[in-house]
C-alpha cells in the first residue's frame, strides 16, 4: 500500500498529491518532485519511433533508504507517482502495476467530466476515494 500518490501534469506541476499524514507531507512532495528527474530521463531515452508502443508503466524510479518510488506516464504525458515504504517487501511489481491501472482508469473518468478543466487541480471525490483505497490506512 502506498504512502504517497501523486498526479503530475504534463508541464510537471502537481495536479493531485496525497500522502499519509503521519510523516511530513513536505518530504513526500520533495520525493515526488525529485522523481520527475528520472521520469524525464526515462522518457527522453525512448526513441521517437518507439514512443507509440511505449509502455506506460515506468517501473521503479529510484530507491531511497526508506521508500520506493514508482512511476507511470499516460500517453498525454500526465505522470502518476506512487511511493511505497521500503520495508513493505510483500508488494509485487504486478500489484504496483494494477494500482497504476486503477489510478489511470479513475483519472480517465476525471478527464471525461465535462466540468473538469484539464490542467486544473483534481478535486474529484471519486478519484479521492480510489486513492484512499490504495493508501496505507492511517490509524
Amino acid at each position: 500500500m502506498a504512502v504517497c500518490i501523486a498526479v503530475i501534469a504534463k508541464e510537471n506541476y502537481p495536479l493531485y498529491i496525497r500522502s499519509v499524514p503521519t510523516q511530513g507531507e513536505l518530504k513526500f512532495h520533495y520525493t515526488v518532485h525529485t522523481s520527475l528527474d528520472v521520469v524525464e530521463e526515462k522518457i527522453s531515452g525512448v526513441g521517437k519511433a518507439l514512443a507509440d508502443q511505449r509502455e506506460l508503466y515506468l517501473g521503479l524510479l529510484y530507491p531511497t533508504e526508506d521508500y520506493k518510488v514508482y512511476g507511470y506516464m499516460t500517453n498525454s504525458k500526465v505522470k502518476f507517482v506512487i511511493v511505497v515504504d521500503s520495508s513493505n517487501t510483500s508488494l509485487r511489481d504486478n500489484e504496483i502495476r494494477s494500482m497504476f491501472r486503477k489510478l489511470h482508469n479513475s483519472f480517465t473518468d476525471v478527464m471525461c467530466n465535462p466540468f473538469y478543466n484539464p490542467g486544473d487541480p483534481i478535486q474529484s471525490k471519486a478519484f479521492d476515494s480510489i486513492v484512499s483505497t490504495m493508501m496505507v490506512q492511517a490509524f
Binding site: 508541464e11 502537481p14 513536505l26 512532495h29 520533495y30 518532485h33 531511497t64 533508504e65
Partner: protein, 1138 residues
C-alpha cells in the same frame, strides 16, 4: 575525540603494497646510492611492480615479534583487531630486507669485505628477531659483469659470499653501476617482488595454521581477526581475488559475534572496515554491482544495531560515514573509468550520508542538552595511557573488556557523559553541508536538476540552522525560481518561509518585502491567519516600523534582528525599492490594455489598467503610473504624465466615485482605472507600447516599494493562469455591473497611432482598357466632405510602386495630353499641388497615361491634405490621406497584316525586277472602342518604288471592334545586282486615335515595319493581252508579248498545246530570236467551244539560253483561264442582264 573519529584509518583506505626495506644505502652523502634510491622510488609508473621501498639503517629496530603461542586454550582475546596491526605490516615489518654493499668481484680486499658484508647481514638478521622476513644482498659494482658462466672468479666468489652470509644463491644480486641503471633496478625489483610474495604467502599459511587451535566459544574474535589478516596479507601479495574471499568470510563472521551494548561499537567498526575492503575490491575488480549489493547488505544488517541509546548519535555518525565512504569509493571508481547512471550514482550515498548527519544532529539536540552545570568529567575517562586505543572500536575507559556488563557502572556513566559533551562541540551543520554539496555536485553530473534543487534547499536550511543567513538566503533564492516555474507551490511556500525568516533575521528590507509579497499572494499555500500575520508585518515595514519576529526563530538572533530593524528605521534613504514582478508571484496582479489595437490621431487614446489583490486585508497604495514607449523613436515621457494616478489625484475613474477608496485594493475585487490621452501628430504611424505599469505601495514619506509590471502585465504565474482560463469553458458568475471578471480581461499592450480618417472622396473616370501607345485619359475628381478647409491637397498619381520593374519602363504619366509621352516622363508623378479645397467643393484633374506595353498594371492615386481638428479641447492639425488604386488593362488597338501579291492578286513569295506588284495592308481592330484612322502612309525603302503617287485609301475610316480596313499600293523593284537578293521594304505609318466622346485625345502614330522581300531578275517577261471574257463560238483574239530583259539575243521556242475547249489559229510551234531589249508580239485567235471557266490553251515557252528558267515560272505571268459566256438566243444583252 576529534570529528575525524569516524573517519576510516588511512592504512585501511590505501591500497596495500609489499613493503621492502633497503639498507646499506647512504642516500645523503653518496651520489651513487642516491642515484640508486632515486631509480627505485622516483617516477614510479603504474607498470612497475607494486612495492613500497624504504631506506632503513642496518640496525633498524623492527617491531618485536611476539613469542609464538603453542596453545590457545587459556587465551581470551581482548578485541578484534589491534589498531597498530595494519600500519605495522604496511610500514614497519618488511617482507624483504635488502642489504646494499659495494663490492667488485676482483676487489683486492675481497676477504675483508666479504666478512664485513656477512657481519652486516647478521646485524640485519638479529634486528629482525625471528620474523620470517627474507634478507637479500645486492653488490654494487663498478664494472659491467661478464655473461654468466664466463667469469669463473665471480661465480666462485659469489658462492663463497653466499656461504659466509648464509644466503641462498637466489638472494644475492649484482648491481653494476653503469649507464643502464634503471634497467637493472627494474630487474632487481622484480626479483624482490617475488621474494616479497613468497613472504606474504608464508604469512598467510602461518595465520591459517592457528585455526586448528581455536574453539568457537572463546575465540570468536580470533576467527574474524585471522580472516581479516589473511585478507590483508593477500592484498599485500596482490592476490585480490583471495583477499576478497577472506574478507567476505570475515564479514560473515563478524556478524556472528555475540553483540551486546558494550561491544556493539567494536563490531560495527570492524564490520565497517571489512565492508569497506570488500566494496573497494569489488570496484577494483570492476564488479560495481557486487559492491553495491554488499553495501546494501551491510547497511541492512547494521541499520538496527544502534547500541547504547544514550550514544545513539554515534550510530548515526557511523551510518553517515558508511554512506560517505561508499560514495567516495564509488566516485573514485568513476574517475577510473566506471560509468554510473542517473539512478545509481554516488550522489545518493552522499545524500543518505547527509541524511544521517542530520539525524545525528537531531539526536545530539535531544541527548546532549545537559543542564548548564554539567561539565566535562574529570579525570578524563577518554584518556588512555598510550594516548590511543589498543583495539579498534573499543571504549577508552574499559579497553580489552569483552564481557556483557561494564566492569564499572560509574565509569561507564562518566565515559558516556564525556562523549556526549564532546559531541556537542562538533560542527554538525558544517558536516551536513559538506555532504550535501558533494551530493549536489554528483546530481548535477547525472542530470537530476530537481534532486539538485532539493539538496540545495536542504543546504540552505542547514545554513539557516547554522545561522549563516547570508549563504542560506543565497542558496534558497537560487532554487526558488525553479520551483516557481514548475509551479510546485507547496515547496515554494516552504522555501519562502525559511527565506523570510532569514531576511527578517538579517534585516534585509527588500528581500523581506519580496518574500512577504509572495507569501501573501496566490502562489502561497499558507493558511489565512499566517497570510494575515505576514501582511500585517509587511504593512508595518512599509510604514517604516519594526515587524513582528517570525515564529520559531532563534531567540538570540531575534534580538539582534530587532535592533537591526530599529537601525533601519532611523536610516535615511534607501527606503525605495523596485520589484520586477515578472520574477515573482506577488499578491497584486495587474493587467493593462489599450482599448483598441489602433487609434486615429483625432480621437483620444484610452488605456485601462486593472489591478487586483489576493491578500487577506485591503491594501492602500499611493501611486500608479504607466510607462509608455514609442517603438519607433524614443521614450514618450510626455504621455506618461497622463497615465499617473496619485493619491487624491483627479484620475478619471469611472467606477469609483470616491478618490479615497480609489487607492485601496479590496481583496478579490478587480479594480479598473481608465486613462486618456491625445497622441501627438508626429507620432502618426508609430507604435506605442506599454513598457511597464508601476504600482507604489507605501508612502514616499516612509518607505515604499514600487512594483513594476514589465509590458503592463504578468508575473511568474500568470501566463499559465491565462492559458487555463481560456481553456476553461466554465460559465463565469455574473458580476455586478461595476465589477469585472479578472480572467476575461485580455491584454492589449501596444497600439498604433494611425492617421485621421479622410473625409474626402476620390473618383476616377476613364474608359478602360487602355490601348497601347495611346495617351489614356483618366479624370480624377476629388470631392471634399470635410467640415473645414482641406489645405495643401497633393495628388500623387501613377504606377503603384512595388510592381514589376519592366512596368516602370513602359509606363509614363503626364498632365499634358496633347503630346505623346516619351521616356523622359516618370511612371509616378508625386505631390502634384492642387491647392486648398473648401467644404463641399471638388477638384477635377485629368491625367494622361502612356502605356507602351500590354498587360495589366496597378495605378495609385494618393490624395494627401491636412486639416485642423479639435480633440479633447486640443487643437491639432491632422494629416489625412486617401488612396485609390485601379487596375488598368492595356490592349493592342489593331493588328496590321501585310502581304505582297502579283497584279493578278496572287500571293508572291518573291518579286521580280521591274515587274509591278501589289503591297496589301489589312488593319484589324482589336480595340473594344472605335478607332478612327486619321491617315496612313507608306515610307518606302530605296529598293522599292511606287508606281503611282501612293495615296492613303483608309483615311478617315472608323473601325469598330473586329472590323478590318484594307488598302494596297502598287510597287515595283528596280534591278538588283546579283540576280536575287532580299531587300527591306520600308515602313507603314498609321495615324489613329480613339474615337471617344469622353475626352479629346491626340493622334497616335503607329509605325509598322514592312517585311523584307526577295527580289529576282528575270530574263524574259511575258504578258498577255486578252479581253476580259469570251463568248462561245465567237473569235477571241489573244496577244502575247515577249520581252527580252537581257543584253543577249535569246532563242525562244514556243508551242501551244491544244485544248478541248478552244480551237485556235496562230503559230502552233515556233522558234524565234528576240534581240536584247526587243519585244516580240504573237497573235492568236481562240475560238471557244464551251461556256464557263475554261482553261486556255497552254503556251509553253522554252528559253534555250536559260534552261533554269522553267516554263512554269514564265507561265505565272500569263492568265491560265478565261470565262466564256454561252451564246445567247435572243441576243447578248438579255444574257448579260441575267
Amino acid at each position: 575525540m576529534s570529528p575525524a573519529q569516524w573517519d576510516l584509518p588511512p592504512e585501511l583506505c590505501c591500497r596495500p603494497v609489499a613493503f621492502v626495506a633497503l639498507t646499506g644505502l647512504d642516500v645523503v652523502y653518496n651520489a651513487i646510492h642516491r642515484a640508486i634510491w632515486d631509480a627505485f622510488c622516483a617516477n614510479r609508473r603504474a607498470d612497475r611492480v607494486p612495492i613500497s621501498f624504504k631506506v632503513l639503517p642496518g640496525d633498524n629496530e623492527y617491531p618485536k615479534c611476539r613469542t609464538k603461542r603453542t596453545s590457545y586454550e587459556w587465551y581470551i582475546p581482548k578485541g578484534i583487531l589491534k589498531t597498530g596491526w595494519m600500519n605495522k605490516h604496511l610500514n614497519l615489518v618488511p617482507a624483504l630486507v635488502v642489504l646494499f654493499y659495494e663490492l667488485d668481484w676482483d676487489d683486492p680486499q675481497w676477504k675483508e669485505k666479504q666478512s664485513e658484508c656477512a657481519t652486516k647481514v647478521e646485524i640485519v638478521r638479529t634486528s629482525l628477531q625471528g620474523r620470517n622476513t627474507k634478507v637479500a644482498v645486492v653488490l654494487i659494482q663498478k664494472k659491467t659483469p661478464l655473461p654468466p658462466g664466463e667469469d669463473l672468479v665471480a661465480s666462485e666468489r659469489a658462492s663463497a659470499l653466499c656461504g659466509a652470509c648464509d644466503l641462498s644463491g637466489k638472494s644475492l644480486f649484482v648491481l653494476p653501476h653503469t649507464d643502464h641503471l634503471v634497467g637493472y633496478i627494474i630487474r632487481l625489483e622484480n626479483a624482490f617482488y617475488e621474494h616479497a610474495q613468497t613472504y606474504y604467502y608464508n604469512e598467510i599459511r602461518r595465520v591459517k595454521s592457528h585455526k586448528e587451535f581455536l574453539n568457537k566459544t572463546t575465540h570468536q574474535l580470533l576467527f574474524v581477526r585471522h580472516q581479516f589478516k589473511m585478507g590483508f596479507f593477500s592484498e599485500l601479495k596482490q592476490d585480490t581475488q583471495n583477499a576478497l574471499k577472506y574478507y567476505r568470510t570475515a564479514y560473515s563472521l563478524v556478524h556472528e559475534l555475540r553483540a551486546h551494548e558494550t561491544n556493539m561499537l567494536e563490531i560495527k567498526t570492524m564490520a565497517g572496515f571489512i565492508n569497506y575492503k570488500i566494496c573497494r575490491l569489488c570496484f577494483q575488480h570492476n564488479t560495481p554491482l557486487d559492491a553495491i549489493a554488499q553495501f546494501r547488505k551491510h547497511i541492512d544488517l547494521c541499520k538496527k544495531k544502534i547500541g547504547s541509546a544514550e550514544l545513539a548519535f554515534e550510530h548515526t555518525a557511523w551510518m553517515s560515514k558508511q554512506f560517505q565512504s561508499f560514495g567516495d569509493l564509488f566516485d573514485e571508481a568513476i574517475k577510473l573509468g566506471l560509468t554510473a547512471i542517473q539512478t545509481q550514482n554516488p550522489g545518493f550515498y552522499y545524500q543518505q550520508a547527509a541524511y544521517y548527519a542530520q539525524e545525528r544532529k537531531q539526536q545530539v539536540g535531544q541527548l546532549c542538552s545537559h543542564e548548564p552545570g554539567v561539565g566535562y568529567p574529570a579525570p578524563d575517562p577518554l584518556e588512555t595511557t598510550s594516548g590511543a586505543l589498543d583495539f579498534y572500536g573499543q571504549r577508552p575507559w574499559r579497553q580489552g573488556h569483552q564481557s556483557i556488563d561494564p566492569p564499572d557502572s560509574e565509569k561507564e556513566k562518566q565515559g558516556i557523559l564525556a562523549l556526549q559533551v564532546k559531541e556537542r562541540d562538533i560542527p554538525h551543520s558544517e558536516l551536513i553541508i559538506a555532504l550535501l554539496s558533494n551530493a549536489v555536485a554528483q546530481f548535477k553530473k547525472y542530470k537530476c536538476p530537481r534532486m539538485k534543487s532539493h539538496l540545495m534547499v536542504q543546504m540552505g536550511e542547514e545554513y539557516y540552522h547554522a545561522k549563516d543567513y547570508t549563504k542560506a538566503l543565497k542558496l534558497l533564492d537560487y532554487v526558488m525560481c525553479d520551483y516557481r516555474t514548475e509551479r510546485w507551490w507547496s515547496l515554494l511556500t516552504s522555501i519562502l518561509c525559511t527565506a523570510l525568516k532569514c531576511s527578517y533575521l538579517m534585516g534585509q528590507v527588500k528581500d523581506y518585502i519580496t518574500y512577504s509579497m509572495e507569501l501573501v499572494g496566490r502562489a502561497s499555500i499558507l493558511p489565512e491567519e499566517q497570510k494575515s500575520r505576514i501582511e500585517k508585518n509587511l504593512i508595518k515595514v512599509l510604514m517604516n516600523e519594526v515587524p513582528e519576529p517570525e515564529p520559531d526563530c532563534d531567540p538570540l538572533s531575534v534580538k539582534t534582528a530587532q535592533s537591526l530593524w530599529s537601525d533601519r528605521i532611523s536610516l535615511a534613504g534607501s527606503n525605495e525599492f523596485t520589484i520586477e514582478v515578472q520574477d515573482y508571484v506577488p499578491f497584486v496582479q495587474c493587467k493593462a490594455k489599450f482599448l483598441s489595437p489602433s487609434f486615429h490621431i483625432d480621437e483620444p487614446v484610452q488605456l485601462h489598467v486593472y489591478v487586483r489583490a489576493d491578500c487577506p486585508h485591503p491594501v492602500l497604495y499611493s501611486k500608479q503610473c504607466t510607462t509608455l514607449f514609442s517603438v519607433d523613436v524614443f521614450e514618450l515621457q510626455e504621455y506618461n504624465q497622463y497615465c499617473l494616478l496619485e493619491d487624491a489625484s483627479k484620475g478619471k475613474d469611472i467606477l469609483e466615485p470616491s478618490t479615497q477608496e480609489n487607492m485601496c485594493l479590496v481583496p478579490g475585487k478587480t479594480r479598473k482605472y481608465c486613462f486618456k490621452f491625445v497622441a501627438k501628430t508626429e507620432d502618426v504611424g508609430k507604435k506605442i507600447e506599454i513598457t511597464s505599469v508601476g504600482l507604489m505601495l507605501g508612502r514616499e514619506t516612509a518607505r515604499y516599494v514600487y512594483l513594476n509590471w514589465r509590458g503592463g502585465w504578468g508575473d511568474a504565474a500568470s501566463s499559465h493562469e491565462t492559458l487555463q482560463a481560456c481553456r476553461s469553458f466554465k460559465k463565469r458568475t455574473r458580476f455586478p455591473e461595476q465589477q469585472v471578471d479578472w480572467d476575461t480581461v485580455t491584454i492589449q499592450s501596444s497600439l498604433r497611432i494611425i492617421s485621421r480618417v479622410p473625409k474626402i472622396s476620390v473618383q476616377l473616370t476613364h474608359e478602360p482598357p487602355a490601348l497601347t501607345n495611346e495617351m489614356y485619359c483618366m479624370i480624377v475628381t476629388i470631392q471634399s466632405g470635410e467640415d473645414t478647409v482641406a489645405k495643401d491637397i497633393k495628388l500623387t498619381a501613377g504606377l503603384k510602386p512595388g510592381q514589376d520593374a519592366n512596368l516602370t519602363q513602359s509606363t509614363q504619366i503626364t498632365l499634358n495630353g496633347t503630346e505623346v509621352c516619351d521616356d523622359s516622363h516618370p511612371a509616378l508623378l508625386p505631390d502634384i499641388p492642387l491647392g486648398d479645397l473648401h467644404p463641399g467643393q471638388k477638384i477635377v484633374k485629368p491625367l494622361y497615361i502612356h502605356c507602351v506595353s500590354t498587360g495589366s498594371r496597378i495605378l495609385l492615386f494618393h490624395v494627401a491634405y491636412s486639416v485642423s481638428a479639435t480633440v479633447e479641447g486640443k487643437d491639432i492639425t491632422c494629416k489625412c490621406h486617401k488612396d485609390e488604386t485601379v487596375t488598368l488593362e492595356t490592349v493592342v488597338p489593331f493588328e496590321v497584316a501585310m502581304k505582297f501579291v502579283s497584279s493578278q492578286f496572287e500571293h508572291l513569295e518573291r518579286v521580280y525586277v521591274d515587274i509591278p506588284f501589289l503591297l496589301m495592308m489589312d488593319i484589324l481592330s482589336a480595340s473594344p472602342w472605335p478607332i478612327e484612322l486619321v491617315n496612313s502612309e507608306v515610307q518606302l525603302a530605296s529598293s522599292m518604288n511606287a508606281i503611282d503617287q501612293p495615296q492613303s485609301q483608309v483615311e478617315g475610316v472608323t473601325l469598330q471592334t473586329s472590323e478590318c480596313a484594307s488598302e494596297c499600293f502598287l510597287l515595283k523593284c528596280p534591278p538588283v545586282q546579283n540576280g536575287t537578293s532580299t531587300v527591306a521594304s520600308g515602313h507603314y505609318i498609321i495615324s489613329w486615335k480613339r474615337k471617344s466622346t469622353f475626352a479629346e485625345t491626340s493622334v497616335v502614330r503607329t509605325i509598322v515595319t514592312l517585311p523584307h522581300v526577295m527580289v529576282e531578275n528575270i530574263p524574259l517577261y511575258v504578258h498577255a493581252e486578252l479581253p476580259s471574257f469570251g463568248r462561245v463560238r465567237e473569235s477571241l483574239p489573244v496577244r502575247y508579248h515577249l520581252e527580252n530583259r537581257t543584253g543577249l539575243v535569246q532563242d525562244v521556242e514556243i508551242t501551244v498545246e491544244p485544248s478541248d475547249a478552244f480551237m485556235f489559229s496562230g503559230l502552233k510551234q515556233v522558234r524565234m530570236r528576240i534581240l536584247p531589249g526587243a519585244e516580240q508580239e504573237m497573235l492568236y485567235n481562240f475560238y471557244p467551244l464551251m461556256a464557263g471557266y475554261q482553261v486556255l490553251p497552254q503556251l509553253n515557252i522554252n528559253l534555250l539560253r536559260f534552261p533554269n528558267i522553267s516554263n512554269q515560272l514564265l507561265r505565272r505571268f500569263l492568265p491560265s483561264r478565261i470565262f466564256v459566256k454561252p451564246q445567247g438566243r435572243n441576243g447578248d444583252t438579255s444574257i448579260e442582264a441575267a
